[in-house]
Symmetry: C2
Subunit: 308 residues, 2 copies
Amino acid sequence: MRFDVTTLGTGAALPARGRYPTAQLLNVGEELYLIDCGEGTQERLRQAGVNFNRIRRIFISHLHGDHYLGLMGLLSSMHLQGRTREVHLHGPADLREVVHLQLRVSQTYLRFALHFEAVEPRSGDLVWRDDRTTAHALALRHRIPCTGLVVREHEQPRPLRKDKLALVPPYRRSALKAGEDLVLEDGTVVPNAELTHEPPRPRSYAYCSDTAHAPELVPFLQGVDLLYHEATFTEQLRARAKETMHSTAREAAVMAREAAVGTLLLGHFSSRYKSADVLLREAVEVFPRTLLSSEGATFPVLARYPGA
Amino acid sequence: MRFDVTTLGTGAALPARGRYPTAQLLNVGEELYLIDCGEGTQERLRQAGVNFNRIRRIFISHLHGDHYLGLMGLLSSMHLQGRTREVHLHGPADLREVVHLQLRVSQTYLRFALHFEAVEPRSGDLVWRDDRTTAHALALRHRIPCTGLVVREHEQPRPLRKDKLALVPPYRRSALKAGEDLVLEDGTVVPNAELTHEPPRPRSYAYCSDTAHAPELVPFLQGVDLLYHEATFTEQLRARAKETMHSTAREAAVMAREAAVGTLLLGHFSSRYKSADVLLREAVEVFPRTLLSSEGATFPVLARYPGA
């Protein structure tokens, strides 16, 4: 099943240098989850050829403008396009008033149901569970309440071993994929492990933006396959990072190393950096499997087989 | 003195086909007035190389998202850039709450004074008067309260006739430019008209977006040099125009003809029109001096000398 993330914007609060504010699109089996929605996100989505109707959930981490100011325009466009499919909106409690006030003053009556669910930055809280994914909250450290996410796909069925397929009556296949043993007509029990492979471990994606260095999150990030972590500054500006409650690239890499994640993806680059390469160089010294996000780029969430 | 308008976005409610939502930048002697501010306006301004600090006033015609959703992002960027110069914000009364709520939830304390002045759609009301321009309201006809503008530059000084310059002592020049007669040392009065030219008539720009056909506005638009008028649909969709309270290109042209304006500028094109040429063709049949706005294009407000 497809599981990847497209970074629609990699800039920080002041958009510049061709960078856009934060927005990410998770594609899990062709169902889309929008994570943050900075100004202009609908235009980025259009450029990426995304059908807005496929977006089932929108998650807003916090109410700094560079993370949510594109939301009203996107909802409005969904409405004008005639959407009837419900939208689940997860965000800080105050977002409800921000959205409802603007719908009210524009006298907009959405054609679709907008289900608002308030999130709070309490690590481990369930944010959603649907037929594709389960998401839990991360308590990020920022100037205003800010919630990160760990999104996990569900357990996958155990693949049947092709060389043993002749043994298995077709009506028993789904039970075997679910982990049951096979009982033959003569009463012999064939253990599941002899008939199936170990399935790939469910893949997971974590989203940490915006946050000061928060080592207390390491247990919640342990072993995720792809960790997006903001890297607004280099170590040279560590004091500025502390003051504004952002992370340096090195701090992001330390989080990735301590949590033993698969891959680290950096973003939220300060407009002072003409190129983000300096941030990448700093991070790879601590955690080699680090990538830079870029506008419109897609990063697969790669499964690591058990023991890998 | 420079007096022109740059159309930053020419689309209607649903942005598409490379069109952006409505925003216009009036440049009057290098002081800037932003008229409407759809999503992404700050990016358009950046593309046009505009220094945000030169924007002294922002006018929001109404609270449909395609006319104001870029405002918070622009104010935030002005703040992050360290602006200290005050901003005058003119808009519907509800805009105050929309702005203040979003400043509050993001815990943003602007470094500059934001003077909010509520406008109401009452034709002829004074909206502002400063050292460059005077602006009066137009009561547009739309689904929610919507205010247009007529912006006029001030009377210009009377240019001195070069062939009579020797007659005029330098210390009397400003009095002559202001229209006074010249009294010579022997008491002879030289009428002002013999020493000065008629100055160009103060130029004027009118902004009508969004509105159903509103012939009652003609007296307020009489003789303006450049009339921007929305033209969302062609006559073929006149019923749709009526229902959504927009104008057809022909209706915009009828307004221009009845008000005997200098030039008509069309915008706010429905996303159904791949090219706006069909709207232009419809309008020029009624009013030949019609132009299509386009993203980033600048249109001078041309003075017509008396009698022209």
